[in-house]
């Protein structure tokens, strides 16, 4: 009998503890207004700065476009084999240019190895998060935002590289002349001696 009463008392205490905690939470939520529900899609979540979503190409400020040279490093390191790149050698440019860069986001595991290996650091994570859809077609064309800039970039880059080459040639010329002058001076000095 005493044992049974004891059990009932312990049971009641457990029950009250649980109720107490629930009431405490209710107090915090209702009275102190600490509700955390986000009214999605009317409110958008705040993504962390490190948030990882589908990769995208970076638009560099100085050139106004991406810097993918189609070296295929990312395509080769990708564990999911979801990147496909094609590139071409452009007349008058030193580096290759990518002509096709597609990524199948349905396969991507967001490991970031492609971003790590990129020699021109032109890859970054995007902040896309609402990508739910009715089809499995997540083939993304990463070059799409850059297509209209490509011609302009190639022209400008040709000019820049030609300018740089001319600059280099002038510098080489000057260096050569300086060397010749030095040699002549040295020869003159010897002659005097």
């Amino acid at each position: 009998m005493a044992g049974a009463l004891q059990k009932i008392a312990t049971g009641a205490r457990s029950l009250l503890t649980g109720l107490g905690m629930t009431m405490g939470e209710l107090w915090r939520t209702l009275v102190r207004r600490k509700a955390v529900t986000l009214q999605y899609p009317h409110e958008k979540p705040e993504l962390s700065a490190a948030y990882r979503s589908a990769i995208q190409l970076i638009r560099f400020e100085d050139t106004g476009t991406h810097d993918c040279v189609a070296c295929l490093a990312c395509q080769q390191i990708c564990p999911s084999f979801c990147i496909a790149i094609d590139g071409e050698k452009v007349e008058g440019l030193k580096k290759q240019r990518a002509t096709e860069f597609t990524m199948d986001f349905a396969l991507c595991s967001l490991c970031g190895l492609c971003i790590d290996v990129c020699p021109t650091t032109t890859l970054e994570y995007s902040k896309l998060y609402d990508q739910a859809g009715y089809t499995r077609d997540w083939e993304m064309d990463l070059l799409e935002p850059f297509r209209e800039d490509e011609e302009r970039f190639r022209e400008e880059q040709r000019a820049r590289e030609a300018e740089a080459a001319a600059e280099k040639a002038r510098a080489a010329e000057a260096a050569k002349a300086a060397k010749a002058a030095k040699a002549a001076a040295a020869a003159g000095g010897e002659g005097e001696a």
């Binding site: 205490r13 905690m21 948030y51 967001l110 970031g112 994570y125």
Partner: protein, 373 residues
């Protein structure tokens, strides 16, 4: 492996399939129970429903490409597995890791361990019929996921480590956020104890139920909290310190009873110990780089083999790598703790009842993808 049970001659026992789709079975575990009335005559775990051939995948790609797989082996402590793979590779190729990266790794691993234990805590109580504690621990776990999300950009499958360091540096918000979280966690733990451990129903269902004796534990290679609850103070972090665990002061909690309640106690005290380690690591967090000055792009370990063990949230996790000097491993074997822990179940479950099965399987904390790899 029996899949079709044979009828018993006397016909007084019957078979019950628990799982692979059962609300109280974790993941896709299937238990074939032979019952006499309510009593379990024999129990056989049948696995393989989540087999994804991670080990075989490792043999078809280079060392770095296997990295994302490791956090998917055990999705609840992905960080620990991720970093274990990195550390194994670093040892194999003798890569120096900057001090700051070592500290960040320790903090991230221990946070991940706490989140894994909190999830276990919630789902275990859910199995036993207590719904409310689940909400509280997921609230706390959410704070950890937010913290890890802020540095890794991911909530479960982190891919945070790289051979030689980590991908992203932690800033002041992470450090202060972690400290604030630890304060909050320490306030919450006594409440959990009041709410759960002192609860009479919980005690009735856990005390003396599913005793794993040290002998059984040794026979099956049970490790982690399940082994420590049986009175054996084995923890890889203490027995063979890896990383920088030898610099921190922490206890290895043990209990002697070996029942579900002991396993519960050990895990809750492990949360406290992890919090202690994080505190010390945050205090000692040095300034400096997080990757070597010139990180290698291609990894070709010398021919040879290596076994590297860490303490995951579930026990002794080992990575065995065989290299022939090329860029692709010859063999990768992952020794996962859940597999050995689950293997002890036929012995432990014999003679118990169906209701106890839920409590016992819940208390050993299995993660099915880790068992099947």
């Amino acid at each position: 492996m029996t899949t079709e049970p044979e009828p018993t001659p006397d016909g007084d026992t019957y078979y019950l399939n628990m799982g692979p789709q059962h609300p109280s079975m974790h993941g896709v575990l299937r238990l074939l129970l032979e019952l006499r009335g309510e009593e379990i005559v024999s129990a056989e775990p049948i696995i393989g429903y989540a087999h994804r051939a991670h080990e075989k995948m490792a043999e078809n790609r280079n060392y770095l490409m296997f990295l994302p797989n490791t956090s998917r082996v055990d999705y609840l402590s992905g960080m620990i597995y991720n970093l274990a793979w990195c550390e194994a590779m670093e040892r194999l190729m003798a890569i120096e890791v900057p001090e700051r990266a070592l500290y960040i790794r320790t903090i991230a691993s221990e946070l991940n361990r706490i989140s894994s234990h909190l999830l276990w805590f919630g789902t275990f109580l859910l199995d036993l019929g207590g719904v409310t504690p689940f909400l509280y621990c997921f609230d706390d776990r959410e704070a950890i996921l937010d913290l890890l999300d802020s540095v890794t950009g991911s909530r479960l499958t982190y891919s945070y480590g790289r051979f030689g360091g980590v991908t992203m540096d932690v800033g002041e918000p992470f450090v202060s956020g972690t400290r604030a979280f630890l304060v909050r966690l320490r306030e919450r733990l006594p409440a959990y104890k009041r709410l759960v451990r002192d609860n009479v129903i919980f005690r009735e269902r856990c005390e003396g139920v599913g005793v794993i004796t040290p002998e059984v534990a040794f026979d099956y290679g049970v490790t982690g909290p399940c082994l420590r609850a049986s009175g054996v103070g084995f923890d890889v972090r203490r027995a063979e310190p890896y990383g920088i665990y030898d610099r921190f002061e922490f206890d290895v909690p043990t209990a002697t009873e070996g029942d579900c309640l002991a396993r519960f106690d050990v895990r809750v005290r492990e949360i406290e110990e992890s919090a202690r380690i994080i505190d010390q690591a945050l205090d000692g967090l040095p300034e400096g780089p997080i990757m070597p000055a010139k990180p290698k792009k291609r990894f070709k370990p010398p021919a040879g083999e290596l076994y590297y063990a860490v303490e995951s949230a579930r026990g002794h996790f080992g990575t065995w790598v065989v290299s022939d000097g090329s860029e692709i491993p010859v063999r990768v074997k992952l020794r996962t703790p859940s597999f050995s822990n689950l293997s002890s179940m036929p012995d432990v479950l014999r003679g118990t009842t169906v209701a106890d099965t839920i409590a016992i399987v819940g208390s050993i904390d299995v993660v099915l993808p880790e068992i099947d790899r």
